[in-house]
Symmetry: C2
Subunit: 458 residues, 2 copies
Amino acid sequence: MSVEDAIAEISTFLGQRITRSKSDLDLHGRSESHFPPAPPDAVAYPETTEEVARIVKACATAGCPVVGWGTGTSLEGQAQAFQGGICVDFSRMDRVLDIHQEDMDATVQPGVTREALNRELRATGLFFPVDPGANASIGGMASTRASGTTAVRYGTMRDNVLGLEVVTASGEVIRTGTRARKSSSGYDLTGLFVGAEGTLGLITELTLRLHGQPEAVSSAVCGFDTVEAAVQAVIATIQMGIPMARIELMDPDSVAAVNAHAGMTLPERPHLLLEFHGSETGVAEQAETFGMIAAEHGGTGFDWATRAEDRTALWTMRHNAYHAILASRPGARAVVTDICVPISKLAEAIEATRADLRAHDVPGPILGHVGDGNFHAILLFDEADSDAVTRAKAVSDRMVERALALGGTATGEHGIGIGKLGYMEREHGAAWGVMGALKQAMDPQGIMNPGKLVPPRN
Amino acid sequence: MSVEDAIAEISTFLGQRITRSKSDLDLHGRSESHFPPAPPDAVAYPETTEEVARIVKACATAGCPVVGWGTGTSLEGQAQAFQGGICVDFSRMDRVLDIHQEDMDATVQPGVTREALNRELRATGLFFPVDPGANASIGGMASTRASGTTAVRYGTMRDNVLGLEVVTASGEVIRTGTRARKSSSGYDLTGLFVGAEGTLGLITELTLRLHGQPEAVSSAVCGFDTVEAAVQAVIATIQMGIPMARIELMDPDSVAAVNAHAGMTLPERPHLLLEFHGSETGVAEQAETFGMIAAEHGGTGFDWATRAEDRTALWTMRHNAYHAILASRPGARAVVTDICVPISKLAEAIEATRADLRAHDVPGPILGHVGDGNFHAILLFDEADSDAVTRAKAVSDRMVERALALGGTATGEHGIGIGKLGYMEREHGAAWGVMGALKQAMDPQGIMNPGKLVPPRN
């Protein structure tokens, strides 16, 4: 049996919805970051769970790889077909199936994007808060355990998925969790599939926790003399119990890139970008308290944006920062790092990274979800300059080593894919072997997104 | 090899700290609820992770069961040794190892109780919020995925454990998670062990998320004409985004029992018990908003308790409600049910339960963590009256069936143990088989808390 057999079998029920066109294969072999193209052998576009189950069964019979695809915005090669096989593109499974307004939950198909979901929710007074920046699919976001700017208040995908429907490696359809807010009923399979990057099964339906749209929202920007001062202000803010909706750090290099790209005129110093959600008086009180804390830590230029359009401009700038940074060196590519440390170690981790960047002449603006201790350095290099590539990757390695030494993790939100595979043993030790044992139990043939996340098969 | 061999081996390094005294065996065979005694063959009192690992290795060699023990307050027989073996009592591993004030986390041994932990935290301005009522051990609370009155605001044990040290079934020591607030690094093993009831390994250390002690706290009691009206008030409150710290329901029978036991004089109607946490103005605003919502739903007798001693009296009454209810029928025992449903179905589930209780002449006061859709009926019976036992258990069965039909779960916070084992297949379908496969992969001999949670071995 071979991948050809699987494709032939799948064609019998998908018809034209499995394709080997070059453009489709190229599109589904690409990466948002620095990984080389790795196209699948074919791309399937199922429309139902039953079709997904039949695809996986065909692949199980043929012993051929199955790789899920949402929008292709993952950053560690999670959706690329490094061993070929069938790419299962969920773009035709993009419906919001049910919204339960009183229960504040929604059941969706994996292909719906977070922006499309929030458009459908607009009239309900509810929203889905997880916001990784990219307009990713909800299934992909669950699979990489995505988070982003709002996790400090609303949590990550781990916290916002109540239940799943999953096609396992044998093609069986299972359901995990319920619509109840909590449960002590058995192993947390929902939590096991969230963040599994499609290595244990394909998610075909998700029940999500929704949140009430805040009555009032306000945003602010505030400059600091040092990263340390900004981080201390954040620690004090969180300890005071101020329920920050967003609290983001940009280092001077990020500020410079954003200024150039978006025509902003922020001083080139460390900045915090903030958002408050609550009642009118609650937001005003939060802002006032934060203002006092910031002033104690030397914060200046505290600038409010209560108008919706100013807020939109602010967060559009933040979301476009990656592109602004790339644009700051035309033709450059980037290694996007993603370490997360205990917040008390954040200033140390950032300053050590900045020193390392300077010492090795690697341009690397830094952006951080500072309330969670998570930050990204965008390590820029010219692909033709092999020494620059090597230096950028070496900085990335040292960032991870530093994160682990400080009690943190190699990835706060981007996941493992192939990009972080080399750090798994260092981070998890013997627990990585336990992950391998779970993979072996649930996917004994190793067909689900092979080569990612777990130890290589012997 | 036999359990005798394991005991002999363990004695070589624990000395007097493994015992077969009748009082010790009796104590560790008992249950807080209606299960018959099931003593282990011996009770071990390890003081270090290394000793736990050696105990488990001895049991693995002998093929003998290992059952963890915290304070014995679980309600579904989780800590009872139905197949004998070694009970591992964690009471000598009860230290708070580290408190990281800036990071708002603490690392503790599993035997520390939640009250002892909060006493140690008092001076730090932080607290650990999960409160199941009983003064349970943190390891036990993690193992049963406990929650309680504050979960509506602060989450359950699933949400408040950042990382673990675990002794696996082979006696290997692994670490899961880190001190970082979030991670996308591989399978969520922390989440897998939390709620696994000791069937996959023994937790020997936990890193917990702490929260800031609120600046202001106020509590309130409010009566309603019907359970439906009370639930609608709760739904409106949550949809408004009011961050309730506690929101508890007592039905008229619970109110009557509490009145009799604690000398209270609440009208015998459905009541909500509430607590607000925040800043002074925030708490006042929350209370005012809730007051308006309650009034819209016919709430009356809205009574505030801003003084600490009044609040203590209120929550002591709530925590003692189980004993008040037991005391309302001298000599009675109880089946304690624990269903959890989407909140929009809560009034329906409670009213159907009350009708069922009346129809079958089963006394069953109802208490609920209403913000989560979770409630308990305390089904009272006289042990000598076998028909009453049968009727109580039948009501419990129908409650679970109703919960599952309404999109809920058989247990919101008490767990499975042996008490809920019979519902697992109905609730999880094929996913229960996946749980069995995970168990098989991680504990192929089936020595870890056998007979609980997963499908029986063939």
